[in-house]
C-alpha cells in the first residue's frame, strides 16, 4: 500500500455524518497538494479531493489501525507524526498548520466507528489478516448441508451439538492465549497425537468455550496428558470414570465460574464447556472414542464434561491447589478421575467428629463397601458441613486425618464372604484394619450452595502409579 512519506492522510466513509460534515474541509486541504484520502465505503466520496483512494477492501484502514472515521494522520519522513480522531477545528488546525479551517462548522463533532470494526467485516478481516497462522486442515461444509448435522456426521461431537469451528472463531479463541498456535501443548492418548494450541482452540470452539476460558482448557489438557494422570488407562478401563477438573485461584471469578449453588451441575457456561473441551480434545485429537478405546461398561453423564470451581472464599480449608503446592494467588487446575457425584446427607451432626464419621460412611461405598486401597475418591464438602468444621477449628489436614482414621475398616467386615457377600478383600494372615484409600488417594474440595447439609462423594478409579493420580497444573503460564 502506498502511504505518504510526508503530508496528510485522511480515512473516511460516506455513511458517517461527521465525514460528510468535513467534506469541504478535505477538499480545501486537497488543494494544498499534501492530502491523500482513503474512503471505506463509496469510492466517489468525498467530492473535490484530487488524491482519492478506494479503501473498500480496508487494507489502508487496517494498516493505519483506524478505529474511528474521520481520522486525519500526519506523516513526516515516512513516520506518523500525529493524528486527530473525529472533527475538531483546533486539533485539525494544529495538525495541518492551516488556519481558519471549516468555516461555518461546529467547533467539534465526534466521528463514527471505522468499517474495520463492523461485526460482519471484522470477522472477514480477522481471517484475511491472521488466518495464515492456522495450520489445521480446512473442511468445507457445502451450502446444501446443515452445519450442525454435518459436524455430527464427521464424528466431531460427543453426542450434543457443537459450535462450528470456523477460522474466525478459532482465531478469536486464540486471542485467549499469548501462546503461538503451533506450540505443542501435550501428546494426547490413546493415539499419542500432538495437540497444538490451535487444535485445543478448535476443540474449545466446538465445546462452546469463550476465549478467556482457553488458558484453563490448555492447563487441563497439559495436566490430563501426563503419565501420572494416565488418561489412556482411564479411558480404556471398563470402569465408568472420566476426567474431572477443579479450578482454583483468581481465574475462577475472572471467567465467571460457579462454585456455589449447583456447582457440580448444569447452567454455568465456563463449568460446562471447559470440561467438555478437554473431553473433545481426547476424543478428536487423541482418538479416544466411546465403544472404541473407551471401553466403559456404563460411563456416566459427566463424561460429556465435568468441571467446577472450588469455593475458596467461604472455605475453612486451604484451597486445594495450595495444598498441592501452587503458590497463593495463582490459578490452577487439578484433574482427577471421576464418576458421577453422589450426595451424603447429614442434617444432625454438629460435632466435627460425628460429621467426619458420616462422610467417611459415604466414602466407604466407593468402588464397593468391602474393597479397599484400590480406588481414589474426591469429597466435596458443602458450606453447611464446612461450617461445622470451621467452628471447631478443623483445617484440611485435620479433616483428612479424621477421615483416614474413620476409614480404617475392620477386616472381619470386609473379607470375602463376610455379610453374605462373596466380594471383598482376600482373607489375610493379619487382623489389622485396612485403610479404605491409599495415602493421597482422597481429595477434599469445598463447594456448593449455602443451604443444604449435603456433601458429595465422587468416586474415582484405580489410584496411584498403577492407575491414575490427580495432577495439578498452573493456568497462568497458558495465558
Amino acid at each position: 500500500m502506498d502511504l505518504r512519506e510526508d503530508g496528510l492522510v485522511a480515512v473516511v466513509k460516506r455513511d458517517c455524518p461527521t465525514c460528510r460534515l468535513v467534506e469541504p474541509v478535505l477538499a480545501g486541504l486537497s488543494r494544498t497538494g499534501e492530502l491523500t484520502v482513503f474512503t471505506q465505503d463509496d469510492p466517489a466520496f468525498p467530492d473535490g479531493v484530487a488524491d482519492l483512494r478506494d479503501d473498500t477492501e480496508l487494507s489502508a484502514s487496517l494498516a493505519l489501525d483506524i478505529e474511528t472515521v474521520p481520522t486525519l494522520v500526519r506523516f513526516a519522513g515516512g513516520v506518523e507524526a500525529g493524528r486527530v480522531v473525529g472533527w475538531s477545528r483546533a486539533q485539525w488546525t494544529e495538525l495541518t498548520g492551516v488556519a481558519d479551517l471549516g468555516e461555518g462548522l461546529p467547533e467539534h463533532r465526534p466521528g463514527c466507528g471505522s468499517r474495520t470494526l463492523d461485526p460482519d467485516v471484522a470477522e472477514q478481516l480477522l481471517v484475511r489478516t491472521r488466518g495464515g497462522a492456522l495450520r489445521s486442515r480446512r473442511l468445507e461444509i457445502s451450502a446444501l448441508e446443515d452445519e450442525a448435522e454435518a459436524l455430527f456426521d464427521r464424528g466431531f461431537t460427543d453426542g450434543l451439538p457443537v459450535v462450528a469451528p470456523t477460522p474466525a472463531r478459532v482465531l478469536r479463541m486464540l486471542e485467549g492465549t499469548s501462546h503461538a498456535p503451533d506450540e505443542v501443548v501435550a501428546v494426547v492418548p490413546p493415539n499419542l497425537a500432538e495437540a497444538t494450541v490451535e487444535k485445543v482452540a478448535v476443540n474449545a470452539v466446538l465445546a462452546g468455550c469463550r476465549p478467556e476460558y482457553l488458558p484453563v482448557v490448555l492447563a487441563a489438557v497439559e495436566a490430563a496428558c501426563t503419565d501420572e494422570f494416565n488418561a489412556h488407562g482411564l479411558l480404556a478401563t471398563t470402569w465408568g470414570a472420566g476426567p474431572a477438573i477443579v479450578v482454583n485461584g483468581p481465574v475462577r471469578a475472572e471467567i465467571g465460574m460457579n462454585w456455589a449453588g449447583n456447582a457440580l451441575g448444569q447452567g454455568n457456561r465456563a463449568n460446562s464447556t471447559i470440561g467438555r473441551a478437554l473431553q473433545l480434545v481426547i476424543r478428536n485429537v487423541g482418538g479416544g472414542r466411546p465403544r472404541e478405546v473407551d471401553r466403559a461398561a456404563l460411563g456416566h453423564p459427566g463424561k460429556v464434561g465435568f468441571c467446577f470451581a472450588e469455593d475458596e472464599e467461604g472455605s475453612p480449608f486451604e484451597p486445594l491447589a495450595q495444598s498441592r503446592g501452587v503458590p497463593a494467588g495463582r490459578s490452577a487446575v487439578t484433574v482427577f478421575a471421576a464418576e458421577g457425584p453422589r450426595g451424603v446427607a447429614d442434617q444432625i451432626s454438629r460435632r466435627p467428629e460425628s460429621l467426619a464419621r458420616s462422610l467417611a460412611l459415604g466414602l466407604r461405598g466407593v468402588v464397593h463397601p468391602k474393597l479397599v486401597r484400590g480406588f481414589d475418591a474426591t469429597l466435596v464438602v458443602c458450606p453447611e458441613h464446612a461450617r461445622v468444621f470451621a467452628e471447631a477449628g478443623w483445617d484440611r489436614a485435620r479433616l483428612q486425618a479424621a477421615l483416614d482414621e474413620y476409614l480404617l475398616l475392620d477386616r472381619a467386615e470386609i473379607t470375602r464372604g463376610a455379610g453374605g457377600v462373596d466380594e471383598g478383600v482376600p482373607a489375610g494372615d493379619s487382623d489389622r484394619p485396612l485403610a479404605k484409600f491409599r495415602p493421597g488417594g482422597l481429595l477434599i474440595v469445598h463447594a456448593g450452595g449455602g443451604a443444604g447439609m449435603f456433601s458429595a462423594v465422587i468416586g474415582g478409579w484405580a489410584g496411584g502409579p498403577g492407575g491414575s493420580a490427580p495432577v495439578t497444573r498452573e493456568v497462568d503460564p497458558w495465558r
Binding site: S136, E140, F156
Partner: protein
C-alpha cells in the same frame, strides 16, 4: 451459513479438530491354518487370573507339541512398553493375549 465477499452463500469452512491422521489402512494378517512350526507367544496383560487362562492354554498347546514363550505387561492399565512390543514381534509369529478378571 457462510456469505462470501460477493454476498453469495458459499460453503462453510471449518477447521479439522482431529489429529488429521489418515485412517489406518492396515488389516490383520490372515489367521494361520495351523500352528505347526510357528513361534507362539502368550501375553499376560497382568489382569487378575489372566495367568490361569494362559497356564491352561500352554498345557493344551504342549499336548499338541507346541511350545510357547511367555510375556507379561507390567500393568494392564497402561500401554505396552515399546521394548516389550519389539521383543514379541522379533520372537513370535503368533501371539495369544489374555484379557481376564
Amino acid at each position: 451459513m457462510a456469505v462470501n465477499g460477493t454476498g453469495v452463500r458459499g460453503p462453510l469452512v471449518v477447521l479439522d479438530p482431529t489429529d488429521e491422521s489418515a485412517p489406518d489402512a492396515r488389516t490383520a494378517i490372515a489367521r494361520p491354518a495351523s500352528l505347526d512350526g510357528l513361534r507362539v507367544g502368550l501375553l499376560d496383560i497382568s489382569k487378575p487370573r489372566g495367568d490361569v487362562f494362559l497356564d491352561r492354554l500352554a498345557e493344551l498347546l504342549a499336548e499338541r507339541g507346541v511350545t510357547v514363550r511367555r510375556y507379561a505387561k507390567p500393568t494392564f492399565t497402561k500401554p505396552m512398553p515399546p521394548d516389550l512390543r519389539r521383543e514379541i514381534t522379533t520372537e513370535c509369529d503368533v501371539v495369544i493375549e489374555a484379557l481376564a478378571d
